[in-house]
């Protein structure tokens, strides 16, 4: 109860600041729309070769996970700005739970992601995506878990490095293999075996697979199990890491 109250105070404060600077919110919303409108048509003629029959049913789940990962990865940058102005220290000197200080910020990121996901999925349907309702709901839920994990990791990284100059290259270094090995843009199955095997070690690929299966209403296979498992595990680890940095004395 106290935890909810404290994290809500933090969440409301973050939301207020975000809304005061709506440019970022609008850019965030526009991104998936641009991808769908400008990249989607390129996939249409290719999609038969993947063994899929609808470009948008293939592409929307990938984009969704991409949004969840990459949008959230940048959450930590605003934390550095707050740290520099002494806000984090001022919060840490209150009796509020350290986890609440982190989770309140995650709620903001998850809310933003949720709105983006809704726009993306609704637009996908408008463009002819062939997905079931329950599949879309589950897919979005899974995306939110991944997004929370990445936002928590990003906050932890921001507070640990305390420097945009250190954080930006680290994020870029992580993002490239994630983007290339997770099958977000093109399915890994069309590549050579070694590449497919390499992608087995990329947790995000399993999550992309799970969201894709979910949108295809295929809840029978093992993809959903592994994807959900990875998403929950990553989220738990990231929240633990994030709380540790908020608790740690040097933060």
């Amino acid at each position: 109860m106290r935890f909810l109250r404290e994290s809500f105070i933090v969440f409301r404060r973050q939301l207020r600041m975000n809304l005061r600077n709506p440019a970022w919110v609008i850019i965030g919303m526009l991104q998936p729309v641009l991808y769908l409108l400008l990249f989607g048509p390129l996939l249409k003629p290719l999609v038969k070769q993947f063994g899929a029959d609808n470009a948008y049913t293939f592409f929307v789940p990938g984009l969704l996970v991409q949004l969840g990962i990459f949008g959230a990865f940048f959450a930590g940058f605003s934390l550095i700005g707050e740290w520099r102005e002494g806000v984090i220290e001022a919060e840490r000197v209150t009796p509020a739970s350290r986890t609440a200080l982190l989770v309140g910020r995650l709620w903001r990121d998850v809310l933003q992601l949720f709105v983006q996901a809704l726009i993306l999925v609704l637009l996908g349907w408008a463009l002819g995506m062939n997905a079931s309702f329950r599949g879309a709901v589950f897919g979005i839920a899974l995306t939110l878990v991944v997004g929370a994990a990445c936002a928590a990791a990003s906050n932890a990284l921001g507070l640990a490095t305390k420097s945009e100059d250190v954080m930006a290259p680290v994020i870029n270094m992580v993002m490239m293999p994630v983007l290339l090995l997770s099958g977000i843009l093109l399915p890994m199955t069309i590549g050579p075996d070694w590449l497919l095997n390499a992608s087995d070690f990329m947790p995000f690929r399993h999550i992309v697979d799970a969201v894709r299966s979910s949108f295809g209403d295929d809840f029978g296979g093992s993809e959903i199990f592994w994807g959900t498992g990875w998403a929950l595990l990553l989220c738990a680890l990231a929240v633990w890491w994030g709380t540790a940095t908020f608790r740690k004395e040097s933060a």
Partner: protein, 340 residues
């Protein structure tokens, strides 16, 4: 006497890496500190002396590597939440986001202490009025003056009515007028609220003006703790400076002063020496100089300052220590950035 702060043997080390070489800096090296309820204590020392690090340990932001501390009756390590509830802390940087509305920030901060929205709004507005921030409730700190922003930081630290307030370098970077104004508000903390105050500063006049007792820290160790008066009394006497009109008589003037001061310094046509209770000794000295026909251009008697105290205690003036210490502060800053 109830102790609000009771620290024993506090130690904190920062670890830095310079290239491959690992270095440890003992920023705080065995600090004992007692602060009684209702006391205003000035924590004085040059940059990098360990003031802020000590404060961060007392406010639970930093774990002591060694030693123990009880703050407001609670242990800073095992009962950190109770400590946090009892204290207000105004850090050097403040804690209000420059792009958020002042009133919103104050209310959110108060609510993190478990206070209701109505309560923090009422209290926040009272504090705004008391600290001369009327009409600034919806203004963003980035559009405030330095003095206003600093007073806003103090409002943040007082929103939950703490009985013990820590102020870290409260007036650094303010213009003289804003400084004088802030001093009044800091003095009010005790006179109007009955709060115990521990403030750090590297301004001597600030410690002199505000604090009942001054604790001097240098290189992570406490080197003195007493009232400003008693500390100044440790410096042997007041400074008497004679400016001699006829430079050929300077030796004779020095001999006269030597009889009172023991040791004198001659520079140009000036003779300086420290004289115990100069106020009483100077009339006799003047008579003697007059009798021997030594004409003076001027005479100056200066009461010792805390800077003299610092010099007596550490062999360095506070200003020199500040310059040497800025390097140590950089190290401290760098250490902060190492993700451990």
């Amino acid at each position: 006497m109830t102790l609000m702060i009771e620290a024993r043997g506090l130690v904190h080390e920062f670890h830095t890496k310079q290239g491959r070489e690992k270095k440890s800096v003992r920023a705080v090296d065995g600090v004992d500190l007692d602060v009684a309820e209702g006391e205003v204590v000035g924590f004085l020392g040059p940059n990098g002396a360990g003031k802020t690090t000590t404060l961060r340990m007392l406010t639970t932001l930093l774990h002591p590597d060694e030693g123990t501390a009880k703050v407001a009756g609670y242990d800073v390590v095992t009962q950190s939440e109770d400590v946090r509830r009892s204290i207000g802390y105004v850090s050097q940087t403040g804690g209000v986001f420059s792009g958020a509305r002042a009133g919103d920030e104050v209310m959110d901060h108060g609510m993190l202490y478990g206070r209701s929205k109505a309560e923090v709004e009422k209290r926040g507005k009272e504090l705004f009025a008391q600290l001369q921030l009327d009409g600034l409730w919806t203004r963003m700190p980035r559009n405030m003056s330095g003095g206003q922003k600093r007073r806003l930081d103090i409002v943040m630290g007082l929103i939950h009515e703490p009985s013990l307030v820590f102020l870290d370098e409260p007036t650094t970077g303010l213009d003289p007028q804003a400084r004088a104004n802030l001093w009044e508000h800091i003095a009010d903390l005790r006179t109007k609220r009955g709060a115990t105050v521990l403030l750090t500063t590297h301004y001597l006049d600030e410690a002199d003006a505000l604090a009942d007792r001054i604790v001097i820290i240098d290189k992570g160790r406490i080197v003195a703790s007493d009232t400003a008066e008693n500390l100044k009394a440790q410096v042997s006497g007041d400074l008497v400076a004679l400016e001699v009109a006829d430079s050929s008589r300077i030796g004779a003037a020095a001999d006269e002063l030597k009889r009172l001061a023991g040791e004198v310094e001659v520079e140009g046509n000036q003779v300086r020496g420290r004289v115990a209770r100069a106020g009483r000794a100077v009339p006799g000295l003047l008579r003697e100089l007059d009798r021997t026909g030594i004409e003076l251009e001027s005479i100056e008697v200066v009461r010792p300052t805390l800077d003299d105290v610092f010099l007596t205690l550490t062999g360095r003036s506070l200003r020199d220590a500040d310059e040497a210490g800025s390097e140590a502060t950089n190290e401290e800053g760098a250490a902060d950035e190492v993700p451990a």
